[in-house]
Symmetry: C2
């Protein structure tokens, strides 16, 4: 093909368009991105975008599906591999946030897209959240079974609290980076964030930090 990307790139032109759309959608939101901008970013004409995806909305839906699939794959690895390591205050894991940081490259647009999906993706967002909520409920159940957590008065609400706290890092990532000087989804950032959150989970707000770094108790 003469029209294929110049330098070596094993992705199909179709995939390149999809990736650029994903990036731009995550950055500015689908409404603020034009077909011509996507085409420009992918190095093709506007007509080709429509030719491949039927319409702009068709492209958006395909990106939705793609992101969801990647996310599910991530979740699969997480819950499937070495038993439940999710949300376990004992292990170094701080759940979803850490999962993303570990499974995705540094500047990946995926977190941003998922954020937008969660906040403005009418139906897809609802499905996604329900999925996460069920996961959170099961995780809490496991923690209770293991004696690591109490179900509380209202286990559904407690699971929701845990999920919300987890997602908050995600949704507020940029602002947190701004005021703390560290991206909470980066390795350094999680090293600051996780102990503080797990400290509260372990003994409440009033308990002094326990797992020491400097002070030998």
């Amino acid at each position: 093909m003469l029209y294929m990307r110049s330098t070596q790139d094993d992705r199909t032109t179709r995939a390149v368009i999809r990736d650029e759309a994903l990036r731009l959608f995550a950055e500015r939101g689908p409404e603020s991105v034009t077909v011509r901008q996507i085409a420009g970013a992918a190095g093709v004409s506007a007509g080709l975008v429509v030719h491949h995806f039927g319409s702009k909305d068709g492209l958006r839906q395909e990106v939705d599906q793609y992101v969801l699939a990647v996310f599910e794959a991530m979740l699969g690895e997480l819950t499937g591999e070495g038993g439940q390591e999710l949300l376990d205050p004992g292990a170094g894991s701080a759940s979803l946030s850490e999962a993303f940081a570990r499974h995705l490259p540094a500047g990946s647009p995926l977190p941003g897209y998922l954020r937008r999906l969660l906040l403005t993706g009418a139906d897809t967002g609802r499905v996604l959240f329900r999925r996460l909520f069920e996961l959170s409920r099961r995780t809490l159940d496991e923690l209770v079974a293991a004696g690591t957590a109490d179900p509380g008065r209202d286990p559904a609400v407690r699971a929701a609290v845990l999920l919300a706290n987890d997602l908050a890092v995600f949704l507020l990532r940029d602002h947190l980076t701004d005021v703390l000087g560290t991206d909470p989804l980066s390795v350094d950032g999680m090293a600051r964030w996780a102990p503080e959150l797990l400290g509260v989970y372990a003994g409440g707000l009033n308990a002094a930090p326990q797992g020491e770094a400097p002070p030998p108790r």
Copy 2:
């Protein structure tokens, strides 16, 4: 004026336009709302909207300023009235969420607009978040001074954790309503949410609930 709103309404036409814009912006986002739609909702012509606010962006900025002003007023009442009642695990207050529920009418578009401001309002959102972060830091300081909380290893991060947890309810309101069956910003919803969160804050995830079902103050 013959053109004034039919039924009694003490608001200026200008104010009506501003309010309708606020509502629509909060619902769908400024990019997805047209000047004609705003005009239609306010019962005026598109030209008049521009005449009053210069441009669509001018209108958006004015709504921004208006929302920020109302929010600041709310914050002022909160921090100023009976000393610090904010984030105090002893009182029934669950901070920002409760403040909104108490100071705003039921279907107010303000929470939705603030959410959007926080998540997509480039500079305004940053300023808003910094403001809230400073408030959270001061509140944590007071809790520490009162012996109700420990500063933790990294007080800035601990304050950020508290703020993020608080804002999460806000940002995920619709989804939480969906899975829990109760709006967490309503009176009923807070009655479910607050005890669970405060329970964790009081003794961590593993502690059994302490204050009984209806706590006799």
